[in-house]
């Protein structure tokens, strides 16, 4: 009886400790956000509504935009473009990275292009993308693809080069052909690096969506921000920025949770 009570007591103490620590961490986050909001309020008050929108004004504008459906429509349009372009970037970038990491001829052939284009920002291609792919969805998806694919490729190559020699040798001496080594060893061993590449690419996609929607997009968060300029609605711009940040944060969290759930046996730690 006493032993059980003791154990329960220990359990409660232990539980209390971890809960307390978590509570403190949560409070720090809340505190940081509150300080940020206060600073924002102060700046907005100092410079006035022509240049800034206060948190309250932004919230009000956000509610208005949400009520008439603009916000949801814009978010869905942007997320759709991001997911398509980013998904294509991962699906193309990972195999290309694996081939580049394993076959030195392919690496030599593609390396100059990767090393060249990864320094050219997508905004430089906005006009060309519209000329080449039209004013519809395609040009935006291509730009998001462009901003995703190199970073996935480069991370995947790093992952392939980091595979322990003994794993590759073991596979070969167990009878795996070069091709079998590729999908039975190289691909699974590279998964953590591909996931990191995909996360970075997701960040890039959010950076790029605003430039992708500069011209000729009738909806999307980037389009909302650009169109607000024409109406002189600083508060709408603030709403667009906040929504972008929240969506980006949510997407990254989702990737992390999904990767940790589904890919844990490949050594993905998030």
């Amino acid at each position: 009886m006493t032993a059980v009570a003791d154990r329960m007591g220990a359990g409660v103490r232990l539980g209390g400790k971890t809960t307390g620590r978590r509570l403190r961490a949560g409070m720090l986050t809340v505190l940081a956000v509150l300080i940020g909001l206060a600073g924002w309020e102060l700046v907005a008050w100092w410079y006035g509504p022509a240049l800034t929108a206060s948190p309250a004004q932004t919230l009000r504008a956000g509610v208005d935009l949400a009520r008439d459906g603009t916000l949801l429509e814009a978010s869905v349009a942007s997320i759709r473009r991001i997911l398509l372009g980013w998904g294509l970037g991962v699906v193309v970038g990972a195999p290309v990275g694996i081939l580049m990491g394993r076959v030195s001829v392919i690496r030599r052939l593609l390396d100059p292009y990767i090393e060249f284009f990864r320094f050219i920002p997508p905004i430089a291609f906005v006009t060309l993308a519209i000329v080449w792919f039209g004013i519809g969805e395609m040009s935006k998806i291509v730009l998001i693809f462009y901003t995703s694919v190199f970073i996935v490729t480069i991370n995947t190559i790093a992952g392939v080069l980091a595979i322990g020699e003994s794993k590759l040798r073991a596979a070969a001496s167990l009878g795996a052909s070069r091709r079998q080594v590729l999908h039975a060893v190289v691909l699974p061993a590279t998964v953590p690096h591909i996931v990191t590449g995909a996360r970075l690419a997701m960040g890039n996609s959010f950076l790029t969506i605003v430039s992708a929607e500069i011209v000729s997009a009738d909806t999307g968060i980037g389009a909302l921000i650009w169109q607000s300029r024409n109406y002189g609605r600083v508060d709408w711009i603030f709403v667009g920025i906040i929504v972008l940040g929240v969506l980006g944060f949510t997407c990254d969290r989702l990737i992390r949770i999904l990767a940790a759930r589904l890919l844990r046996r490949y050594g993905v730690k998030m």
């Binding site: 322990g164 003994s166 040798r169 070969a172 001496s173 167990l174 039975a184 699974p188 046996r265 050594g267």
Partner: protein
């Protein structure tokens, strides 16, 4: 090579006629000659230990035999054919359990070879059960390597290699990273497994007792660079061997003297004052 040559080499390989042969083998890279003038014959079913100070090129020899390194002189032949690259006929147990596939369960690791050969699932399962039983790991079949102890991971490596039914098993200090107690258990286990399987084993180690415990023949290598095989000691003791027996102790003494000479030579080459130092 003509078709006929290829055919005969192939059938010789299948029959496993002539064991392992090194002829005037030298292996080097980047202007550094790791081993040279290696002449060595290993019979089918023989258990040979390569013993020598660290850095003497024991592992280099093994890697050439496994087909991971090409010698720059001489020839390495296995079962009557030149070693041209890694082959499932010649399995390798690595020192580090990094060689295991961490994303596969123990069962899937052991099934890797049969799966690559395209054996039917049911057959794969039979083979895996057999070899996991042999190394005493049936109960951990569905765990991942990261959840096992160092000794258990090396058992998985051994089972994975044997599941491929190779004629030759190469072991590169497989127990070198284990604690002393586990190492002893693993040596006894390997001795037992080898007595039931009788494949050719080439085993690299720097542990003298381990070599005497396991080998039919112990080969001592000189200190590198340009290491050679210095001497060979047949071990004619009944298995399982007792470390305390007079013959064991006598052989240990002779091997220790032989190797100490090499260690002194290698230290002297590095500029150390080793006069009067006895191990």
């Amino acid at each position: 090579m003509s078709d006929l040559d290829e055919l005969s080499a192939d059938s010789a390989a299948r029959a496993g006629e002539s064991g392992i042969t090194f002829r005037d083998v030298g292996i080097g890279f980047d202007g550094f000659q790791a081993v040279s003038d290696i002449n060595l014959d290993i019979e089918d079913g023989e258990f040979v230990c390569l013993l020598g100070p660290s850095g003497c090129g024991k592992s280099t020899l093994l890697m050439a035999l496994a087909g991971f390194l090409a010698p720059n002189r001489g020839s390495v032949r296995l079962g009557g054919a030149d070693v041209a690259g890694p082959s499932p006929e010649c399995g390798v147990v690595f020192q580090s359990s990094d060689a295991l596939f961490d994303w596969l369960t123990v069962r899937q690791n052991v099934a890797f070879g049969p799966r690559m050969r395209g054996l039917p699932r049911a057959r794969q399962r039979e083979i895996v059960d057999e070899y996991l039983g042999l190394v005493g790991l049936r109960h951990t079949a569905d765990r991942y390597p990261g959840q096992l102890s160092g000794g258990m991971r090396q058992r998985v490596q051994i089972a994975r290699v044997l599941a491929n039914k190779p004629g030759v098993v190469l072991m590169d200090e497989p127990f070198g990273a284990l604690d002393a107690q586990t190492r002893q258990v693993m040596q006894r286990e390997l001795d037992r497994i080898w007595r039931t399987h009788r494949c050719t084993v080439v085993f690299v180690t720097h542990d003298i007792d381990e070599a005497i415990l396991l080998a039919d023949r112990v080969l001592v290598m000189t200190a590198g660079p340009s290491a050679r095989i210095k001497s060979g000691y047949p071990v004619d003791l009944p298995r399982p061997r007792q470390e305390g027996s007079a013959a064991f102790v006598d052989l240990r003494h002779r091997l220790r003297e032989d190797i100490a000479e090499e260690v002194r030579a290698s230290l002297r080459a590095q500029g150390a004052d080793v006069e009067g130092v006895t191990p």
